[in-house]
């Protein structure tokens, strides 16, 4: 069983749905970059052997009794992390797109800035990241909509590579959007007058499979 052993303990959570081809590599890469840091895979009732692959790779697994979707899956991880007393939680996607080497920078920014949330952003600095025209349009649209709501520009509003501190964890474990969690979570934070920052990260191509949802929103994320 995972537990928060130090006062500034970190938990890495990985929401996963049918990611058998990628999940083991994701867990191993996090363990390689952050030795000794517990990794919790939240299995959203996968039809394949995601759960088994994650366990064999050395992760703790929280299996959900039925498919909840991304928001419900991530919130389950936040709830468990909060109840176990973790100070920081960093979410990494289970498809291998997030580079575990960026986790220390997100954690460092969380600790040094004192802000409640840090987003791993593809676009905060020009780092040669390219997306399709549709995705790019979607991201620009959300950036435009969120600017007046948040009072600051969020360069990568659909990024799931996110770190939160215990204050945000307390809020998200009580109330977390089920649909469009990345975007709505920013609005939830704003309501509480919480702050967020973005750090530049480089996204990798998916290791296997494809995005679990075909809605327009997922095309942007």
């Amino acid at each position: 069983m995972i537990r928060a052993e130090k006062p500034d303990s970190l938990l890495v959570i990985v929401p996963a749905y049918n990611e058998v081809g990628a999940i083991a590599d994701v867990v191993r890469s996090v363990n390689r970059e952050m030795p000794g840091i517990p990794v919790l895979v939240i299995d959203d009732c996968s039809a394949d052997d995601t759960l088994l692959a994650a366990r064999q790779a050395g992760a703790e697994v929280l299996p959900l009794p039925h498919h909840l979707g991304l928001g419900g899956c991530v919130q389950a991880g936040y709830k468990l992390a909060f109840s176990l007393g973790f100070q920081y939680v960093i979410r990494v996607d289970g498809d291998g797109q997030h580079n575990a080497a960026d986790i220390p920078r997100i954690l460092e920014r969380l600790k040094s800035s004192g802000c409640e949330m840090v987003i791993g952003s593809r676009f905060v600095e020009s780092n040669g990241q390219k997306t399709s025209t549709v995705r790019s349009l979607g991201i620009r649209f959300f950036r435009l909509v969120l600017r007046p709501i948040l009072g600051q520009t969020v360069y990568d509003p659909t990024s799931g590579f996110v770190g939160v501190n215990r204050n945000a964890l307390a809020v998200f474990s009580r109330s977390f959007p089920l649909e469009y969690p990345e975007i709505e979570a920013l609005v939830v934070l704003q309501r509480r007058r919480f702050r967020f920052e973005e750090v530049p990260v480089k996204m990798l191509p998916r290791l296997t499979g494809r995005s679990s949802c075909c809605t327009c929103y997922w095309a942007f994320s």
Partner: protein, 117 residues
């Protein structure tokens, strides 16, 4: 006009019978059947009491009596759909919270079992 009112009368009675049978067979909970029964009754009354319908037409300024009936029934059903959307949203939230709680409790239970072993 008379034929249209006869058709809506038949539809209202059909809806009433369907709802009552569903309640009897426990396909629909009583609390959710009330709004359907009220809507079916309202449609029935409007279809059979032509003066009421004509009064509403005159007061609301709608140019046509059948149009009044159409607008009223459409409005009633829209309110009902909205009400059920709210109920479904609450049910989904409760369902997600329950599933998360079950998952976390199972996690703690498994951890305890492993600790004992």
């Amino acid at each position: 006009m008379d034929r249209l009112l006869n058709v809506t009368t038949v539809l209202s009675i059909l809806l009433l019978v369907m709802v009552l049978f569903s309640v009897r067979r426990a396909h629909i909970r009583v609390e959710y059947s009330v709004s359907w029964l009220a809507t079916a009754l309202a449609m029935l009354i409007l279809s059979r009491c032509r003066p009421i319908l004509e009064f509403i037409t005159r007061v609301s300024g709608v140019p046509d009596t059948p149009l009044t009936l159409f607008l009223l029934s459409g409005g009633l059903f829209l309110i009902m759909f909205f009400r059920f959307s709210i109920i479904i949203s609450h049910l989904r939230d409760d369902n997600v919270a329950l599933a998360q709680r079950v998952a976390i409790l199972e996690y703690h239970l498994n951890s305890l079992e492993q600790h004992e072993e």
